[in-house]
């Protein structure tokens, strides 16, 4: 095909798409709203800083052998120490005596990278201290350029000696440096990348760091040392940095990046933040405003995606979409449009210096990709694929709308690393995969004609006659664990037997969802092990899982009511009275759903021990329950008012998630930002909780009454 023909064809395709959407005012209105949102936050004067394509802390170019200290002898028997270039020695037992390190460590004469970690800094009130004998052994490893130490502290002067004796280029000290001995870092004259955890960025430390002549990247994390009993960081006023304090960093001849963790953001949000530019890159996502912007961007993408999906759907739900060859191809330009919108959003978010464009774009396109992928899987001929996709979709929905809060809590390093654009290959691949899935999803949209017409004729926009030659899609029960159906006998008037029968008619098993959620959690923890990170923060993760499962409760409860609603007219004809029928079905659903109440309860139990106060956890707990109730209420209300489950459920679920996302986001940001916000947030949320809970309870009760009256005729 020559170039002219290709151009003509492209023009005709664009014209086709434009003509399709030209008369869709709602579509354009929503796009305009999105553009307005973008424009209002756009800053022409601030440009995104360049993104340095380096790891925050460069890892050794060869992998580190991972050895737990008790298995060290076995490792030695299997490997030639002289050939090992990288070594991670984990779980070093400080109680072994002097020296603490295995004496054979000095046999690793060609070791280039060494990573040591103890068990816990304050375990049993003891301190794991590197002994002189250990330092003598390490002194023999004269080829070391990478040294990482976690939890192992030093006697006075030891670290300085270590720095003098080695040419360390990358130094990681994770809660291994006493704040009063930061002066000893001056001996590391060759270090280029310095990562300090558990050390506050004080003027004294800045002075020491500025004296390191070859330093290019500095990462400072406050860590847990200053963690107060109520999980708030104590930052004394005298520690507050000023622009003048930061001057030495800014004027450092080689220092390019300073990654300071979130306590630093609180310190430097005002004048110091400007002063740090251009030599720093704060983890700005930890501050409130950019995070809210990210949430707004996600929400905007949801709105835009919804608008486009509806428009595409109405366009494709025509018989022509099924039979005209390549009917859908021009519409593949729509994802391209989404791409541009995402780009615009990322430009809007450009003031987030440490967030790169492509990762941000993938975040923005996450929801569209997710929905398209879900639709694509729903077109599968395999019922198992469809069911599995639905379960995973519903489970992940709990995390989708709050990836920047829960995600940070669970995988802070990975999220930070990803958003910083430090791996262009991965973010680029993610973007390509997203666009591919969206394209496939959109190409499958015409099948909505068939699916809707056959399965939901009432919802189809076209007068659709059921095709008797085609089969209904068979949805298997998620499990049939309630015994053999072939051995069922008459209930003989027993209410419990009848309730058991109704339960057999339910397609979903609530406890199965809990198991799936649990397995998903185990998989995530497994990933942390696999990636070499010990899941020391398992409780926040469990808290997030409970939140996710609590969200699932809304889905499943609504789904069960939907399913029962479809069969009520026929099942009402079973030989039982109206009262018996209503109470039996209600009990059956209640008994089936009660395991799901474990999720909000888990939320309540895990919350306080995972870093949130009891008041905060209680508040969020009531919020979760209220929002779940509101979701069910909304869905039932739609059904009773409009007889439309299909519009009611997505609408209410989206509303639910939007509210939930904003509340959780605001809460998470407030509790992880600065001193003082937590109490305000709890007060504010608690004040709102009471009316919301009341409205939810009344709404749920009222909708239940409506359903009883409408479906079962009971006033």
């Amino acid at each position: 095909m020559n170039a002219t023909a290709a151009k003509t064809r492209l023009r005709s395709q664009i014209w086709h798409v434009a003509a399709t959407y030209a008369d869709r005012p709602a579509f354009w209105l929503l796009i305009l709203v999105a553009i307005a949102m973008v424009a209002s936050g756009f800053s022409w004067t601030r440009r995104a800083q360049k993104v340095v394509r380096l790891a925050i802390v460069p890892r050794p170019w060869h992998s580190l052998e991972f050895v737990r200290e008790p298995e060290f002898d076995k490792f030695l028997a299997e490997h030639d120490p002289a050939r090992v270039r990288g070594l991670t020695l984990h779980n070093i037992d400080h109680s072994r005596g002097d020296p603490m390190l295995p004496p054979e460590i000095d046999q690793f004469t060609n070791l280039d990278a060494l990573s040591l970690s103890g068990r816990s800094l304050y375990k049993n009130g003891e301190i794991e201290l590197m002994r002189p004998a250990d330092m003598q052994a390490l002194a023999k490893l004269d080829k070391l350029t990478y040294f990482s130490n976690q939890f192992l502290t030093y006697a006075p002067g030891m670290l300085e000696q270590f720095g003098r004796e080695h040419h360390i280029q990358t130094l990681v000290l994770d809660r291994a440096l006493h704040p009063d001995r930061v002066d000893e870092l001056r001996s590391f004259q060759t270090v280029e990348h310095l990562e300090l955890k558990g050390v506050p960025l004080t003027p004294k430390l800045i002075d020491v760091v500025a004296s390191l002549p070859r330093l290019r990247i500095l990462t400072v994390e406050q860590g847990e040392l200053n963690l107060h009993q109520d999980h708030r960081f104590i930052i004394a006023d005298e520690d507050r940095l000023t622009a003048e304090d930061l001057r030495s960093l800014r004027e450092h001849p080689r220092l390019q990046w300073v990654f300071a963790d979130w306590p630093m953001c609180g310190l430097t949000q005002a004048e110091a933040r400007t002063a740090l530019s251009p030599v720093k890159s704060l983890l700005a996502h930890r501050s409130r405003k950019p995070q809210m912007r990210l949430s707004a961007a996600l929400l905007t993408m949801v709105i835009i995606t919804g608008a486009i999906a509806i428009q595409l759907w109405t366009q494709f739900v025509v018989p022509a979409a099924m039979v005209v060859p390549r009917y859908t191809r021009p519409h593949l330009l729509v994802p391209l449009g989404l791409l541009f919108v995402g780009l615009a959003l990322s430009r809007w978010l450009a003031p987030l210096e440490d967030v790169a464009h492509i990762p941000l774009l993938t975040v923005c396109l996450y929801v569209p990709m997710f929905l398209c992928g879900y639709y694509w899987l729903q077109c599968s001929h395999s019922v198992h694929v469809r069911y599995t996709a639905t379960i995973i979709f519903a489970l992940l929905m709990g995390l989708n709308f709050t990836p920047l809060t829960l995600g940070y809590d669970i995988f802070p390093a990975q999220v930070t690393w990803y958003l910083s654009g430090l791996s262009p290959w991965i973010s680029g691949s993610v973007l390509l995969i997203q666009l591919l899935i969206m394209s496939i999803g959109i190409r499958h949209l015409p099948y909505a004609t068939r699916d809707l017409g056959e399965n939901y004729p009432a919802a189809s926009p076209l007068p659709f006659q059921l095709n008797q030659n085609t089969s209904q899609q068979a949805y298997p029960a998620m499990m049939r664990p309630l015994g053999d159906y072939d051995r069922l006998t008459w209930h003989a008037g027993s209410a419990w037997a009848r309730i058991g029968l109704w339960r057999r008619g339910l397609p979903m098993r609530a406890w199965l969802l809990l198991i799936v959620g649990f397995l998903l959690g185990v998989a995530m923890i497994g990933y942390q092990y696999w990636s070499g990170r010990v899941p020391k923060d398992i409780l926040p993760f469990a808290w997030a899982m409970c939140s996710m499962m609590a969200v699932m409760t809304a889905f499943v409860t609504t789904g069960m009511w939907v399913q029962r609603g479809q069969y009520l007219p026929v099942e009402f004809m079973r030989p039982m009275t109206r009262q018996q029928f209503a109470s039996d079905v209600t009990w059956a659903i209640t008994l089936e759903l009660w395991p799901l109440s474990l999720a909000p309860l888990g939320h309540l139990v895990v919350g306080p021990v995972s870093g949130h106060s009891l008041a905060a956890t209680l508040t969020l707990f009531v919020w979760s329950l209220s929002l779940i109730a509101l979701t069910i209420f909304g869905a039932l209300l739609f059904h009773t008012s409009h007889r439309k489950w299909l519009t009611g459920i997505p609408a209410t679920v989206i509303c639910f998630f939007s509210v939930q996302a904003q509340v959780v986001s605001y809460f998470a940001v407030s509790t992880s930002d600065r001193v003082g916000h937590l109490d305000e947030t709890i007060t504010w949320l608690a004040g709102l909780t009471i009316p919301v809970a009341l409205i939810s309870a009344i709404g749920l009760w009222w909708s239940y009454r409506c359903i009883r009256e409408r479906e079962w005729g009971m006033g």
Partner: protein, 307 residues
């Protein structure tokens, strides 16, 4: 007709949805042993009437009784004698057919697995197949079989053959006839398809505008409603009307009237218009169209049980 013989009775039954009156005072009595075809255009209130009869909808006014009990408060025993097949079969798609039958059967004291197996075989529904994988017609058959499993005295079907092909429809209707051979059984089914009613029903109830326009024996209806062609030498005026006719149309020298023989005498007509008279038999579809598309006189026709 003895009152104890009546299985279904309504009295001035009204049902409104948001100020729209769907049923406008239905009076109907169906005795045991009849196969009644409920006819009516879309929106005429057939499904609403059936739901009111079954207690699925609460009437706005009036009475409705089924098997001698108020529809709204049917007892366990009454429901045990009742079978219902809705317009869209509500089946559990994940279950195999046999399991589904067993599941439904566990609700009934007098469920006959043998009868169900026999019907499944007769109607060629694979008991091992998953319900969701059945064709629409097979699902309709299964829904009917499940409604028959406990040998109900009264079977109510809401447009049961709408989604069946002609062959399956014929087979389905034949089965209904076999079912009704036992005089204990009464069947009420709504449909749009007149030929099915003619083939199966002993009685018809025609609904129009929320009312029963006719209820009675099918043969009697055909015998009463006739088309009359009046022919004379000069043209009929275009505005010619016959007040007591169900429907009238002028075609030049011909005047076509649909008339109820009980209300209009052929001799009187011939004499009034000074024309030659020819009587033409109508099939049920033509009668239905005349009754439901004609003017108000059509609704004044009284059936044997319509009051």
């Amino acid at each position: 007709m003895s009152p104890s013989n009546i299985v279904l009775r309504t009295e001035r039954l009204h049902k409104s949805f948001e100020n729209q009156e769907v049923l406008q005072g239905i009076n109907l009595e169906i005795p045991q042993g009849q196969i009644v075809g409920l006819l009516g255009a879309n929106g005429s209130g057939k499904t609403t009437l059936i739901k009111c009869l079954l207690g699925l909808l609460k009437p706005s006014a009036g009475k409705s009784e089924l098997l001698g009990e108020p529809s709204w408060d049917l007892s366990v025993k009454a429901k045990d004698r009742l079978g219902y097949v809705p317009q869209e079969p509500a089946l559990l798609p994940w279950m195999p057919v046999q399991s589904h039958a067993n599941y439904v059967g566990a609700f009934y004291e007098h469920w006959s697995r043998d009868r169900v197996s026999r019907w499944l075989k007769v109607w060629d529904v694979d008991p091992k197949k998953q319900v969701g994988k059945l064709s629409v017609g097979q699902r309709q058959k299964l829904a009917t079989i499940l409604a028959l499993g406990h040998d109900p005295e009264l079977l109510i079907l809401d447009e049961p053959v709408a989604s069946l092909d002609p062959a399956a429809r014929r087979q389905f209707m034949q089965s209904l006839i076999e079912l009704a051979e036992d005089e204990r059984h009464t069947v009420l089914f709504s449909t749009h398809i007149m030929s099915d009613v003619e083939r199966v029903a002993s009685h018809v109830a025609i609904m129009h505008g929320g009312e029963i326009a006719y209820y009675g024996e099918l043969d009697q209806l055909k015998d009463r409603i006739k088309r009359v062609r009046l022919t004379r030498d000069e043209d009929f005026p275009a505005t010619t009307e016959c007040p007591l006719a169900i429907h009238s149309r002028v075609e030049g020298r011909h005047l076509l009237l649909s008339v109820d023989r009980d209300r209009l005498s052929y001799d009187e007509l011939a004499e009034r218009y000074s024309a030659k008279l020819e009587v033409i038999d109508l099939n049920l579809e033509e009668i239905f169209l005349d009754l439901c598309g004609g003017h108000e006189a059509a609704f004044a026709i009284g059936g044997e049980s319509t009051r």
